[in-house]
């Protein structure tokens, strides 16, 4: 069911990719997703190259299935991280926070698939021209760093303009969202928030519980003034930040205040003073389940939904 061209390109069973969430997407989560038939991703975030290397080596010991690494192009260690990912010949690299054009060729030469996150049609076309294997089209519903446009409007527009597979991201956490994404022209989906609430995810238990308690309107946008808006769950830290923004905090001050806050929440479990990044779909997530159950649940629900929709014909 739902075997798309993305499955062939990435050599995976289901067209479901796990989001590259810094401090959350460790080898354990990536392996669980890949073993369940999706594509697991290790997030490099702002971590030094040796930390990324350790995670890659750990994942290789745990699975023979393909997995990827997400590199954050604004990382202070970006060049070293790129070298590690090249040397380890990871199956797939996804990129965020910028334009990865100067790296694409090196990865292609060794057979690593390159999948950039794109926030606009122009960048999607540019990435296709430079040889990207697919693009992740991420709507503003997503958690963490976000763009302006919604998944609903951006996915079909980009899908009409390029020939390489489109992976829809932002606001997807069940079979209905998965099926909707395919209807919009996507060849697969990337899911982040839901996978935080998986048994295998190593994020702090308090982070997971905070997500499970989230209601529909709890994922808000902070740091708009900085030009790099971030979606987080409402908490003490987010409210303080919004107050400071109203008072006219500068970009630099904002960056200083934000530094290390995701780690504080995701690793140390301080969900009051840390940054609890999550997508708008957090309100729909009510249980912690193994990745295999989550992924198979999506496929089964999508099939059921497709059957019920066909009754309208």
């Amino acid at each position: 069911m739902f075997h798309t061209k993305l499955c062939d390109i990435l050599n995976i069973k289901y067209p479901i990719i796990q989001g590259g969430m810094a401090w959350v997407a460790t080898a354990e989560l990536a392996v669980a997703v890949s073993e369940a038939g999706g594509l697991g991703i290790i997030a490099a975030g702002n971590a030094p190259a040796e930390v990324v290397l350790k995670e890659i080596k750990k994942a290789k010991k745990m699975t023979n299935k393909p997995f990827g690494v997400n590199v954050m192009l604004l990382s202070p260690f970006i060049d070293e991280v790129i070298e590690v990912v090249l040397a380890e010949r990871v199956s797939v690299i996804t990129t965020g926070a910028g334009n990865p054009s100067k790296y694409i060729k090196q990865f292609q030469e060794i057979g690593t698939k390159v999948i950039p996150v794109v926030p606009s049609i122009a960048l999607a076309k540019r990435m296709e021209k430079l040889g990207a294997d697919a693009v992740i089209v991420e709507g503003t519903e997503a958690g963490g760093h976000i763009g302006e446009l919604t998944t609903m409007v951006l996915v079909p527009q980009i899908a009409s303009e390029i020939k390489i597979p489109v992976i829809a991201a932002g606001g997807i956490a069940d079979g209905r969202g998965f099926l909707a994404a395919l209807s919009l022209g996507a060849d697969g989906v990337q899911i982040g928030t839901m996978f935080i609430c998986s048994t295998e995810c190593t994020a702090h238990e308090k982070y997971k519980q905070k997500l499970l308690r989230a209601k529909d309107r709890d994922a808000i946008v902070t740091a708009r003034v900085s030009g790099h808006p971030v979606r987080v769950l409402k908490n003490k830290f987010a409210k303080e930040l919004m107050k400071l923004e109203e008072e006219g905090i500068t970009k630099k001050e904002l960056e200083e205040i934000g530094a290390g806050k995701l780690r504080l929440a995701a690793v140390d479990g301080d969900v009051d003073n840390g940054s609890v990044m999550a997508g708008q779909i957090a309100g729909m997530i009510k249980n912690i389940k193994p990745c295999k159950e989550l992924i198979e649940g999506i496929i089964i629900e999508a099939k059921t939904r497709l059957d019920s929709l066909s009754k309208f014909c």
């Binding site: 334009n99 054009s101 100067k102 926030p119 606009s120 122009a122 960048l123 076309k125 540019r126 030009g227």
Partner: protein, 77 residues
Amino acid sequence: MEFEKIVKIIGDHLGLDDVSKVKPETSLVKDLEADSLDAVEIIMSIEDEFDVEIPDEDAEQFNNIGDILNYVKAKKE
């Protein structure tokens, strides 16, 4: 000639009503408030218009419209 074409592309993309104040020393980002995505769109339109390739590594070095103009001229020669 090339300059006017480039200014027209930029004006169309950014929705500028009056392009008479756009000069070679005008910066897309600092003066015309273009963001990085606007810049990608503008560079791609210029590539189409003049039938040249502008790799991102080169585009990153542009400080103003004059730099784009000189680049395009050099490529066309």
